[in-house]
């Protein structure tokens, strides 16, 4: 019987399997950020341990960093302490860190692939659930808690039980104006936020092959919003082209050797999956979430659903709570939802392709008068520099957007970028949970082009006819 891509990567990383079926799995690389690592380093210190292989780690501060006036440093003393603690810990334990002033600084999940730290066929972890992003390059990548960050630092391994295999096959092509973000939101709407729990999900099919690596990252990024710790896409020529010449990618003879190995990283024809979900790409419309869970999503042509029509009582109650929190009435057309703020950024949608797409909608136009603030936060210093070289920053600024420095920013509002209570935001991020973007804030998840169009119109519009 053939193997899935997940089976293959798993198989090449098992150090040993205990009698109870748990395996000690070797972790090739770990990314570290300031929020989930201080207690891990403290644990090492208290136990008198050193990292197993310091060079297997790369650290960057992203969650807490300010996105403007960086020269002034971090004004919030608690955030500043956390970022300084990361740098001190990395110095003490011999780990590479991109500091806030480094042009390579950015969101971990943008930086890893961009630097070629993420490579096909590796196991990669980070104390962050959106580590699933890196699966777009054919790496087995997943989020872990702080105890496991410490465990990986100390042993370069994790105890794991193998997940089940799920295949999400996206047939045909996405229509014009429909993006990777719409694709993944529609998948989550279909299988639910717990649909992928216990699985590693491989995304395949014509629509996935047709996506750029950036687009695949958007899809894998949100695998966790469907409950799957890891998302995967098979390696193809796009993957190889994306990686060639990246600073940490192999060079010369090693590159050739690596490429030969990487091109075998795909599921066998006769591989068995525990669950297969088929999606038709051409049926997907631009998506907008209306509730407080990513599965609460509707096409832009649709309306806010009516909880009264939901037969399951627990789900009905969840919908009622969500509508109350979101201050929305059942039956309201999605396109009549007016907005206060727009956020283009996050590890889901802050790469150069995302910024190009948003800028193409915005070019020569102005944001609507009801929009109090519109932010563009590039995913990394490299993305920012590239966008500026292409003049995208001028397009955004001329339209009334603020052009910021890289970080997680308003995706989770740990820094100063946030919603005030009651404010409504079109956001290209990944979570619309209560309070996620600020206490009492209301988040609608959309693609970069949908966010851009909403900023111009002041309410949601169908970007396909905008």
């Amino acid at each position: 019987m053939g193997e899935t891509l997940y089976d293959k990567i798993w198989g090449t990383h098992v150090v040993l399997t205990a009698e109870d079926g748990t395996s000690l799995v070797y972790i090739d690389r770990q990314m570290i950020h300031e929020v989930t690592s201080p207690q891990a380093f403290e644990g090492l210190r208290l136990a008198g341990r050193r990292p197993w292989r310091p060079k297997a780690n790369l650290a960057v501060a992203d969650h807490n960093v300010p996105t403007k006036d960086r020269k002034l440093g971090i004004s919030d003393p608690i955030s500043r302490l956390q970022v300084e603690t990361l740098e001190k810990n990395c110095a003490e334990f011999g780990i590479s860190v991109f500091s806030m002033a480094d042009s390579r600084q950015g969101i971990v999940h943008v930086v890893g692939p961009e630097q070629g730290f993420t490579l096909p066929g590796i196991t990669l972890v980070c104390g962050d659930s959106h580590t699933s992003t890196h699966g777009a390059l054919g790496a087995l990548a997943f989020g872990i808690g702080t105890s496991e960050v410490e465990h990986v630092l100390a042993t370069q391994c994790l105890w794991l039980k193998k997940s089940k295999n799920m295949l999400i096959r996206v047939n045909g092509r996405l229509g014009p104006g429909v993006t990777a973000k719409d694709l993944v939101l529609s998948v989550i709407g279909k299988i639910g936020t717990a649909g992928g729990t216990g699985y590693t999900v491989e995304f395949a099919g014509e629509a996935i092959s047709a996506l750029s690596i950036e687009g695949r990252m958007t899809v894998c990024n949100m695998a966790i919003e469907a409950g799957a710790r890891a998302g995967l896409v098979a390696v193809d020529e796009n993957t190889i082209r994306y990686l060639e010449g990246r600073p940490l990618a192999p060079k010369g003879k090693l590159w050739d050797q690596a490429v030969a190995a990487w091109l075998a990283l795909r599921s066998d024809e006769d591989a068995q999956f525990d669950r297969v979900v088929e999606i038709n790409a051409w049926e997907i419309e631009p998506q907008v979430t209306w509730g407080t869970s990513p599965e609460m999503v509707a096409p832009v042509t649709g309306v806010v659903p009516d909880p009264a029509r939901e037969p399951d009582p627990v789900r009905r109650k969840g919908m009622e709570r969500a509508l109350e929190y979101m201050d929305l009435k059942p039956g309201t057309p999605i396109q009549e939802i007016y907005l206060d703020k727009v956020f283009i950024g996050s590890c889901t949608n802050s790469r150069i392709e995302d910024l190009r797409a948003a800028a193409s909608v915005i070019k020569g136009r102005k944001i609507a008068s009801n929009i109090k603030q519109a932010l563009v936060v590039p995913g990394s210093g490299q993305v920012k520099a590239q966008a500026e070289a292409e003049g995208l920053d001028k397009i955004f600024r001329a339209a009334g957007f603020e052009w910021r420095d890289p970080g997680c920013s308003m995706c989770l509002a740990m820094n100063a970028d946030r919603l005030d209570p009651g404010e409504r935001c079109a956001s290209t991020s990944n979570r619309n949970f209560e309070g996620r973007q600020g206490f009492g804030g209301r988040t609608h998840l959309v693609s970069p082009t949908m966010a851009a169009a909403a900023a111009l119109a002041g309410h949601f519009v169908d970007v396909r006819s905008f």
Binding site: D28, G121, G227, K317
Partner: protein, 211 residues
């Protein structure tokens, strides 16, 4: 790590599905570099009427009287009863730290999000998966004075009327939790095997070892 063996305690019913880690412990509290002190901020946005900030003295903050943790009859409860997909969202271990710091030791739900479930076992918290119908029944029965006895070694939950429910749990996780074992020390017993594996991997994928 703290071990967990058995416990008899009042049950706190939190009748919501998809309780996410942002709800369990909002992001502003993640700025701490410690593992403790999160308990007062557990479910902060549901529990208090004002906006919480790190290092606040919570004793004077306005409480939401409708939220279950604020009801006098559930004070001191150590077993949380909740719905599907508890702990979804981020990987923040601050979520189990906050639950533990508040005093919760057992969480009963029909399902948990993977990363959260895994994180519980690293922190002396026992997440128990029960069938949806059993959870429905517990929700019908629970109220002031309703206590359950949880015995990890026997994998049982005993109701006030003496009815016993059995739950399943991975044997490795059970053993580690019962004994409160240090995972890293256990793994380092395999250091030679890890080194041998690494040598092999260095030969098979030498490009991973140049930087």
């Amino acid at each position: 790590m703290q071990a967990f063996k058995r416990l008899t305690s009042q049950v706190i019913p939190l009748d919501r599905a998809n309780v996410d880690t942002d709800a369990i412990i909002p992001k502003q509290f993640l700025k701490s570099i410690r593992r403790t002190g999160f308990g007062p901020f557990l479910f902060d946005e549901w529990r208090y009427l004002d906006r919480g900030e790190p290092d606040m003295d919570c004793s004077h903050r306005p409480k939401n009287p409708d939220f279950v943790l604020n009801r006098p009859e559930y004070q001191g409860g150590q077993i949380l009863l909740t719905r599907e997909n508890f702990g979804c969202g981020s990987s923040r271990e601050h979520a189990p730290w906050a639950l533990y710091d508040y005093g919760i030791r057992v969480i009963i739900a029909p399902s948990f999000a993977d990363i959260f479930y895994n994180n519980c076992f690293k922190n002396g918290l026992l997440p128990i998966v029960l069938e949806g119908k059993a959870v429905d029944r517990l929700f019908q029965e629970v109220g002031p004075g309703y206590a359950l006895s949880v015995d990890l070694a026997a994998q049982t939950i005993t109701k006030p009327d003496g009815t016993v429910l059995y739950f399943t749990i991975d044997p490795a996780r059970k053993r580690r939790l019962l004994e409160g074992l240090d995972d890293i020390a256990l793994t380092l017993e395999h250091a030679d095997e890890i080194r041998a594996f690494e040598e092999q991997r260095r030969k098979e994928a030498p490009w991973l070892y140049v930087t």
